[in-house]
Symmetry: C2
Subunit: 280 residues, 2 copies
């Protein structure tokens, strides 16, 4: 095992979650940062909901914390702690990335939806004209719905046991894309081209399935946003019934270009690379 | 360049300073943590004085932050932010390490002095019966004075432009070790066996010398607590005049056993090591 290359000059990008042990962002983004020659590190920070405000305030007052990644269950709550929201965050009411602006304000945006839609497109299932069923109207579900509508989905239906949360999201989606989003009825899974689990169900071995994948059409794609385990019980059940599956990791992988742009992780400067190699 | 081994399960030990770029703790302690098989990382956190309380509160509310290392200029201020002080922190009014106790309280202790004295002993200059001159009555200076007296120094004299800070420290030292600590007079450098810079002077190239090493006895040891640069202007000037020098890094190196004990960084558990290697 090689020791990490951390020194006093290292910049930090904490990823906040509860739990946090499952987050894939450090393993995905730190090799990229190393490849770019950036002296920066994504580190996990375990934050319970009642501590979120204090932890965000404390971290963003640190001079070498340039931004945050935010995951379950903090994606909605973090929006109340920043000064400005990007377009996807404004529509969904959730964010998964925060950075300082040049004038020191905190700016949050949500890249989950863009990552999810880009992942499906890369897998040969673009959402233009598609019918989409999404279980979960939280951060990931709202982001996927918004990005799907932005990508031209014909209809996106959502299901969530929290009726107020679902109604709030549907109102914002309908204001932006009138008549194309709605609450899922009992038969909607069977009508969809793509059925998505956007709930945390599947992170724990004892979780029930978020929905029965047997109810999906035989030609439907069954997608999960849960990344750990890679093969969730939902995806195993779907594959066992011959459905095409789409893993949670793709949503994150496809966000890498968006994070690079958002956080300003640029191509290596040849002069800086030479200095670095001279110091190694 | 190898990417760091950070995952969602990694525990964090932030080191707080202003500036923080010079801190050596990540480079010194992370290889040790890796060798111990600990999934833990020391990371720098840049904290300005007016942000210290918020940053400490935020970090210590994070579930995977098990402790803090504290350096200039926060060693005194941090004592007001914790629930209990160890013996060296209580005498010096400064601390450089904070951890949670089993009941969730914050406990701070100062290992600078122990590290400095152990470093001199390892270099063949134990402080028993010695006369010691210390420039600086801040965190490092107070810790060195207390540890020197605890190690049997005959007399420790200190100099500091902040008269109130100096008087406060001398009062606490005198209460614990009566009659052996005092304010340095004009000739005290020339009487000392060991002369120590415990101010930040020397971190910046433009800094003046904390004192003239030519005033020290030819057989005196000239020691510095500044670690970056390794060869401070003071130590270069002392060496040029034939004085024995003692580098700042030794104070930190010799604290490693104390940190291991304080933070509970134990020898690898063979069963855990086997599980780890099976997963690699």
């Amino acid at each position: 095992m090689t020791g990490p290359h951390v020194s006093g000059t290292t910049r930090l990008y904490p990823v906040l979650g509860d739990p946090v042990a499952q987050v894939r962002a450090p393993g995905l983004l730190n090799p990229l940062l190393a490849e770019l020659g950036a002296d920066a590190l994504v580190v996990p920070v375990h934050v319970r909901p009642d501590a979120l405000a204090e932890v965000v305030r404390g971290l963003m007052r640190a001079g070498n914390v340039d931004g945050l990644l935010v995951t379950v269950p903090h994606k909605a709550a973090v929006c109340a702690l920043v000064d400005a929201l990007g377009p996807a965050a404004a529509v969904t009411g959730t964010a998964n990335a925060v950075r300082r602006t040049a004038d020191g304000r905190l700016y949050a945006e949500n890249f989950d939806g863009r990552g999810f839609v880009d992942g499906l497109t890369a897998a040969g299932r673009p959402l233009r004209d598609a019918h989409v069923f999404v279980a979960g109207a939280g951060g990931a579900g709202g982001a996927i719905a918004a990005a799907g509508l932005a990508a031209g989905a014909a209809r996106v239906v959502l299901r969530d046991p929290d009726g107020a949360r679902l109604a709030g999201l549907l109102g914002r989606l309908d204001a932006r894309w009138p008549g194309r989003a709605g609450a899922a009825g009992p038969d909607d899974i069977g009508r969809a081209d793509v059925v998505v689990n956007a709930t945390p169900l599947g992170m724990r071995a004892a979780d029930p399935l978020p929905f029965d994948p047997a109810a999906a059409r035989p030609d439907a794609v069954v997608a999960d946003v849960v990344m750990k385990p890679h093969e969730t019980a939902l995806l195993r059940a779907a594959a066992a019934r011959g459905r095409r599956v789409h893993h949670g990791i793709h949503m994150l992988e496809q966000q890498v270009p968006a994070y690079r742009e958002f956080f300003g992780w640029l191509r290596p400067d040849p002069a800086a690379a030479a200095r670095k190699s001279g110091m190694a």
